[in-house]
């Protein structure tokens, strides 16, 4: 069964700006690589804009996992691009937790399928699991890597999908998971934070 994020919402969401999204603590930092292989700190991508951050890996075959996050991000991208007032105030980040496979080059190729020209959608990875794991832990993103009986890594991972809404003070303001993630909800929350700022 497909997650709700693939279909129309079954309810009218509360109007943007009519509700509060209390801060849930600071968004953590960590070393990252962009699609060009350039080293950055994750914090370099936070704070300037309202940011939506998702942990994914490109070979994930769970339709209600990473592909859902990317599908929703693409829908959010479309919604934000249609609203010229907010287009330059929003950033999406797809952050891979599979540095073995998701090299900067691989992520660059992956991003070309989804990212529209002129939209701020960053695709980030890390140099190694050692560099990655503290960041995952800081975000509470548990990942179980799958191994066969001989202890060989199967290249697949199990995880509870997490997507983070981060404000201009680099504070986490909402967390979405499979049952809850929907482009309309995310876009509404983005507008709620923007209304708050104005």
């Amino acid at each position: 069964m497909l997650a709700p994020g693939y279909t129309a919402l079954e309810f009218d969401p509360p109007a943007a700006g009519s509700y509060a999204l209390p801060p849930m603590g600071s968004a953590a930092d960590g070393p990252v690589l962009d699609v060009h292989g350039q080293q950055h700190a994750l914090k370099d991508f936070l704070g300037e804009k309202i940011t939506v951050l998702s942990f994914i890996y490109t070979t994930c075959n769970d339709v209600n996992g990473c592909p859902l996050a990317t599908f929703v991000f693409k829908s959010v991208q479309n919604a934000v691009l249609k609203d010229a007032d907010i287009t330059n105030q929003v950033r999406l980040i797809s952050f891979s937790f599979d540095p073995d496979h998701d090299t900067p080059e691989a992520l660059g190729q992956y991003s070309a399928h989804f990212k529209q020209e002129g939209f701020d959608w960053q695709f980030l990875t890390t140099a190694s699991r050692k560099a990655l794991d503290p960041t995952l832990e800081a975000y509470g993103q548990a990942v179980v890597r799958d191994y066969d009986a001989e202890g060989s890594y199967l290249g697949t991972m199990s995880h509870v999908l997490r997507v983070f809404l981060i404000d201009r003070q680099s504070r986490i303001r909402n967390i979405y998971s499979t049952s809850f993630l929907h482009a309309d909800t995310v876009a509404n929350d983005i507008r709620t934070l923007l209304a708050e700022a104005s």
Partner: protein, 449 residues
Amino acid sequence: MIQRLTNTAALLLCVIASSAVADETCMSPYMAKIVGQEDFVYIWTLGIEGVGDGQDKLVTVDVNPASETYSEVVHSTSVGGRNEAHHSGLTDDRRYLWASGLDTSKIFIFDVHSDPSKPRLHKTIGDFVTKTGGIVGPHTNYAMPGRMLLTGLSNNRDHGGRTGMAEYTNAGEYITTHWMPTDDNLQGAVKSGQFADGYGYDARALPRRNVLVTSSFTGWNNYMMNLGQMMADAEAMKRFGNTVVIWDLHARTPKKILDVPGAPLELRCAWGSQSNYCFTSTALTSKIWLIYEDDAGEWHAKAVADIGDASKIPLPVDISISADDGHLWVNTWNDGNVRLFDISDPHAPTQVFEQQIGAQINMVSQSWDGDRVYFTSSLLANWDKKEAAAGNDLQYFKLYGWDGEKLTPQFNLDFIELGLGAPHQMRFGAYALYGKSPAKENGAAATAR
């Protein structure tokens, strides 16, 4: 959706709101589920003076028939005192179990993922009352995406029933408080009947409908009072909740207050893709109530069945809905009975089974497939019975097999004889949730993590 089979459990790690779930049937729709054989049941247990160390504790029982220690207590973690241990709940990723105390308002967070057979106390929240602005008696520990929702039963101003809910991050950091709507401050909610009492108890989410449902019990003054004394106190008996509140789940704002007189307790929502309803039972009036959305999108409450003979005060407590929304287990504390209702027509439940489990009974938890039904006995320290008739169990944890017609005993642990205390809330654990296995934990097989 990831669905994997291991030697012990089949798991749903990515969950969606419209999935069938089982107590596993009663867990948050945001949570990873155990849909096969559970390995452990974690039992949040009240300490009893003179029984073992007398402290509240998290007791771990091995419930996997394939294990050498099946039916045994394999671990116990005491928390250093008595807090009126009551309810517990897992985070959405099931890495931590939150267990709260109704008297001290402390919340104990156990790490259940590092070694599922040996939960360890990870963190204690001791400032819940001040952080939340005065909520007393954290009750339901309910998983939301990346956070926990904690319902309260009372407040620090008069220790009555007016209360609220609080949100914490999974890491145990306070986020915010939501007070229940009252006549003084409806917070924009529609008062549909006589009551807007501001009381609280349980909470359940229906993400598909953007709805959060809350129920209402009583305050610290009552739940910490001796039961006989309270029932003889006419004024005290007036101070029970009479409401269920429908909230905007996303905005966390109350939308409608429904009259459900008689202390509506546990809430259990159906999970069919077109099933927009929940059940609750009323402790004082002994009825099953249906909380439902009509075709126009309006929410209503109505009594749909009697639970035993209300004049005999059976005192309904925990309820558990089956994965297919077809049946509802209903425990009645005072007579120690479990009843099963056919709820295939939610507007007209019919009782199809009844059996006494012990001298008293409180919680019921069933496996995803409904084949295994677990029971515990304790309600509240000052309400629990102190003795049982010969041959009847007082403080127990029991497993029965259910074949659709009868309950077949599997094992029975006497928590007094074992020096543990009074067992209350049960939560399931499994190695496979964390990519682990018993062999790996014992170092007997190759590991690669």
